[in-house]
Amino acid sequence: MALKGGATVCGIADVAAFDAHAPEKHRPGDLLPGARSVVVVGGAQPREGDWAATSPWVMQTMGTTDRIQGVGRRLAQYIESEFGYYALYVPPGTASGDTPFLSLMLAAELAGLGSKSLAGPVLNRDHGFMYWSAVITTAPFEPDGVEATPACPAPACRQMWEREHTTPCLTTCPSSSGGCLSGKLENGRAIRTFYDAARCNTRVHTHWVGGFQKVLEEALNEPDRDKRKMLLYGDFFTRSLWAITYSSTNIAQCFECMRVCPAAHGLKEMK
């Protein structure tokens, strides 16, 4: 049903598996008492054409996160109507600040749909980078196991590490030069990773709530009225408002670590 509804992949995680990884108040049972399973769907990933596009506005304004959320919603309704168990569609937003209700990335990992990469996003072995939605349910579904072999690091990245002690994602966005990432591979596995979430926020959500708040603060602090107008009517603030209103398609605005990732684009050959 999930795949027919538009998901590319679907997996099931056991709620008990979250205890070791998720903090209190952000586990499935905290959201749905009596929860037994978490059904995770992945899909709506950028198309091959999106990765090939040279205009930055394609991916920055036309991301496809929204479509997978619709699949999650329908799945919750289906579980309740067909199986008679409680089902809770996990809201994709944040509970407060930048903290989600439930980590969709963790859910995807525990459902066997992918594994965390050096760059951060969970990558599926066949399809690469994708968006996730999850449904917590009291239904006792048989869980899938976690992936045995991670997609990251890809063979090309392991070879690059041997040669140059870096990988495409670490080179593109190095924390040592004002970027978000650093890490270390050993014997073909990542043994250390670093991710500057606050800096990444300025890149992946350049024009969104944070940018809006920053400009608003600056405008309020600006004593010159003409300069205030320049801020509030200016390009950055206008663009931020557009991104906020079209959040569902604008929410991800930086893909550079994924653009260079050999494991992020799936396996399909294009003409």
Binding site: A52, W57, M62, T238, T245, K271
Partner: protein, 277 residues
Amino acid sequence: MTTEERLKAVGLKAGARVVGIAPVEAFREKVPEGYRPEDILPGARSVVVAGGDGPTAGAWRCPDHRVMEITGYDLRENVAVHAMCDFIEGTLSHHAIQAPSLPVHGHEPPMSMMHAAELAGLGTRSLAAHIILNPEYGLLYYAALITTLPLEPDQPLAEPACPHPGCAAMYKRIGTTPCLRVCPACLNGTVQDGRIQQSTYDREKCHSRAQTYGIGSFQKGLLQIVNEDDPERRRTMIYSDFFTKSIQSLGFFRDSIAQCFECMRVCPVGRKYRKLQ
């Protein structure tokens, strides 16, 4: 079925009312560099345009203009574009992307959907805000995809949809048309020998009508609020109906992005589809 027919069938099944195809070369004549399909997707060969219905016939009959301010748009042509993109990449193995159409700098989008619709033979510019009118259905909303797939293009329409013969006759009689008469603030134009002779459109004034509650009104309201020194007056401005509606509209902007339909309400093109029981 040809590839073009199969592709259009996918789009029509997904909710488009009309689907047309334009070659990327056609965009070079009038579109400045940086805004052409080939600037967006390397190797682009074709642009496929989907036109979707506007408000329902029932919505047009509502005497309260606020209804269509909130629900005038349902984005189904975008769904059709996604379905066609999936088909092109999944079945035909060519790159396909939804053409970016949201404004990214002020009012300017990276690519014009209106121009794409013209080149794909789906409509022609009208006196009414230069809206692209489909000769059969009138007002439609347009979305497009760009693809590396070479497709047999459709031709731009030879006969313009505007002016409608009734409007041309009206102009001959009284020197105006229904749209020009209802909205002289935004529109101006002349008709000669049954064709548009000249037409101007004040987009910035239209913006205050077509997006009364939205990003623009929010910015305007916010500037007034931050410039207001008196805290009591500031409070009444923040909680005012106008500013509240402006903030609300940001949350649901996708559905309410079109908020004025007066020039289209009086337009006879496609009106037969608004006459139901």
